[in-house]
């Protein structure tokens, strides 16, 4: 009976010690605070109208669209990358290299190539947005169904095949791009570099529900994700049907990636950056604790980059490039540390 008094000390939850629980709450609070501050900063900074006036809110409302886009993209990229890295048992890859971005580039390039400058308009619109998302998810489903199912299903080969197909699509895009006139090319490039400005407010009506459904379904799988992280054999031993579960998670991931990529364009290393920061910040294996941190981190990174670029460097357009370089730098430093893959 004396056990009861010391029982709280021995517990196997995701945050085993009181210190780790305090740390986690502090991290979440700080991130949330940062998110609110940045959100307010994006709305109010440099707003020519006095705070609270009608004109202020008109401008703020326009900027709020950007905020919403960043919230969606941060959510999609953060959660998708964490889940993807869990099921692939590999912390140095991002789902974006699996051909999603190459497909996006190919679709956009073909539109301009075949239709000229008018092509840019032809691929805009909610219907087209949805079509593009479906195309990407369909591509992912075919790839996973082909290479992950059956007895010979092999995760690593699936990853490599995805990357190779991406490279082939990239070559086709590059070829079409070199035949474009410089003005068409500039128009196209604006779409091909990840930018918050790419997003149309009307897309949010589709993007938010899609992201919410996919994210919610992933949330319902978080406990199984914790088991999948232990590898195939341990997962099967614990009664999780590894193959089916992996496919489900990867498909949901592909929905999130498609929503994000079609919204703002390719952001190859955002997911990597966010996931890596989230692991450090959350310091737990439990996906119920990781997901909120990943979302908040994703938003803070995006909004922070946006804010700094817009108000310090006056170059909001190249947010994608900045994130690529920072994320890429982190990637390099990460792989040069000793580790096991």
């Amino acid at each position: 009976m004396a056990d009861l008094t010391i029982a709280p000390v021995r517990h196997s939850g995701p945050l085993p010690t009181a210190r780790s629980r305090r740390r986690y709450s502090a991290v979440v609070t700080a991130l949330a605070l940062g998110a609110v501050l940045l959100g307010f900063g994006v709305l109010a900074w440099d707003n020519p109208m006095p705070l609270g006036s009608e004109g202020f809110w008109t401008i703020a409302r326009m900027r709020a669209t950007s905020l919403a886009v960043m919230a969606v993209v941060g959510f999609c990229q953060g959660i998708a990358t964490v889940s993807f890295q869990t099921v692939t048992n590999n912390r140095i890859i991002t789902p974006s290299i699996m051909g999603f971005e190459a497909l996006y580039v190919l679709v956009q390039t073909s539109a301009v190539f075949f239709l000229g400058a008018a092509g840019i308009m032809a691929v805009q619109g909610v219907g087209q947005y949805l079509l593009q998302v479906c195309l990407m998810v369909g591509f992912a489903a075919l790839l996973y169904g082909w290479l992950l199912s059956g007895r010979r299903g092999n995760m690593q080969i699936m990853l490599l095949v995805g990357i190779i197909l991406g490279a082939a699509m990239g070559a086709a895009s590059t070829f079409m791009q070199r035949l474009l006139t410089p003005s068409e090319f500039d128009l196209l490039m604006a779409r091909l570099i990840g930018s918050i400005a790419n997003a149309d407010a009307t897309y949010l009506g589709v993007a938010v529900p899609l992201a919410a459904v996919a994210g919610g379904l992933l949330w319902s799988q978080t406990r199984r994700l914790n088991v999948l992280a232990l590898g195939r054999e341990t997962a099967i031993n614990l009664g999780v049907s590894h193959q089916r579960q992996t496919m489900v998670v990867l498909l949901l991931t592909s929905v999130l990636m498609a929503v994000s990529t079609s919204l703002v364009g390719p952001l190859t290393f955002l997911g990597f950056l966010v996931a890596m920061l989230s692991y450090q910040l959350a310091d737990t294996h439990d996906h119920r604790h990781l997901f909120p941190v990943a979302w908040l981190t994703g938003f803070v990174v995006l909004a922070g980059a946006y804010f700094v670029l817009k108000h310090v460097f006056y170059a909001a357009g190249s947010i994608g490039v900045i994130i690529e370089i920072v994320g890429g730098g982190f990637f390099l430093s990460y792989i040069l540390r000793k580790g096991r893959l």
Binding site: I164, A172, V321, E324, I325, R340
Partner: protein, 341 residues
């Protein structure tokens, strides 16, 4: 192809002689199949000389055009094809991984970055300067990749190219950023897409350096094989491991850097050719070397001829066709690996 298959049947075909014949450790270098392969390759090369929009026989200045464009172009095909195929072979030997070559380790992207940096910082730099910088960055990039391989314990050979291509994507993102901020994106795309269209007399000559690389590879072939077995094995047989790796990296960097500057990117060539050759001939590096050169030359030449003919009077860059064919062959190799364990 018949030549290739027949060579496969040759080594075991030696009839059981009355008295035991000495069993050589390696096959003979020059065999009938190799001569046949040589003839086929020569045929392709000659064909390349006479394919094109310009009628080199009918027109008045035909012979002059022949000397200015066709001959340099064909020589460039031969040299760069052999160079990239051998680079791939050396990298595969050093890393003992079949999926490694300049495209899947980021080497090409590093060379491109060096080239771009010179173009931006010193626009009036001579071809030689550009090449030197590209070779140096290619060297650094390859060393980064090797450093990564040595530090990290990998579970699967397929992870290696995944990491390498991520690495390439990071460097590529950085190049994109520079090109974007200096308005050189489209010209960069054209420059990097390996094409032999613009190879003219007076511009391709640096490619001859590749011959020296080929000789170096021939001489050091066995050392690369031993170094590929690891530092302990190499030291055990009295080989300075680090020096061999540096030598190999240097040769690869020279070949990749020079080809990138003069011709552009030739994706997957270094991967597909050595794998095809070893599929038919097994894995003896030295006796495979001439085959790798020949097949490399043939593949590039065929791609270039297809590119010239397919949408006459326009040209598709050889790299585009190579990327498509290369991706298909790569996929075939991967699926073969999957099916055979």
């Amino acid at each position: 192809m018949t030549a290739l298959t027949r060579s496969h049947a040759q080594p075991p075909a030696s009839p059981p002689a009355a008295e035991p014949r000495p069993r050589p450790a390696r096959g003979r270098l020059f065999t009938w199949p190799l001569l046949i392969g040589l003839v086929i390759t020569a045929g392709l090369v000659v064909l390349s000389l006479f394919v094109g929009v310009y009628d080199v026989f009918g027109a008045e200045d035909g012979s002059e055009m022949f000397a200015i464009t066709r001959v340099p172009r064909t020589i460039a095909l031969v040299l760069s094809g052999a160079a990239m195929a051998m680079s791939g072979l050396v990298m595969q030997q050093l890393t003992q991984n079949r999926f490694v070559e300049p495209t899947t380790t980021g080497t090409t992207e590093w060379a491109g970055l060096g080239l771009l940096l010179t173009m931006v910082l010193v626009p009036e730099a001579s071809l030689l300067v550009k090449m030197t910088v590209a070779v140096i960055t290619a060297f650094i990039g390859t060393m980064v990749f090797f450093a990564f391989l040595r530090r990290v314990t990998l579970r699967s050979s397929v992870i290696v190219p995944i990491v390498g291509m991520m690495l390439g994507a990071v460097v590529g993102a950085f190049s994109t950023y520079i090109a974007l901020s200096t308005n050189m994106l489209q010209s960069m795309g054209i420059w990097f897409a390996g094409s032999f269209t613009s190879v003219l007399r007076g511009q391709y000559e640096p490619l001859w350096v590749v011959v020296a690389v080929a000789v170096g590879v021939f001489i050091a072939a066995d050392r690369f094989t031993i170094a590929g077995l690891g530092q302990e094995v190499a030291t055990n047989v009295g080989l300075n491991y680090n020096r061999v790796v540096l030598l190999g990296t240097g040769l690869i960097a020279i070949a990749t850097g020079v080809v990138t500057v003069v011709v552009g990117n030739l994706p997957f060539l270094g991967l597909v050719v050595p794998n095809l050759v070893s599929l038919f001939r097994g894995d003896d590096l030295r006796s495979n070397l001439p085959w790798v050169c020949l097949v490399g030359i043939s593949v590039v030449t065929v791609c270039d001829i297809i590119g010239r003919v397919i949408i006459m009077p326009f040209e598709v860059p050889a790299s585009t066709i190579l990327a498509m064919i290369g991706a298909v062959v790569f996929l075939g190799l991967l699926l073969r690996k999957r099916n055979h364990g």
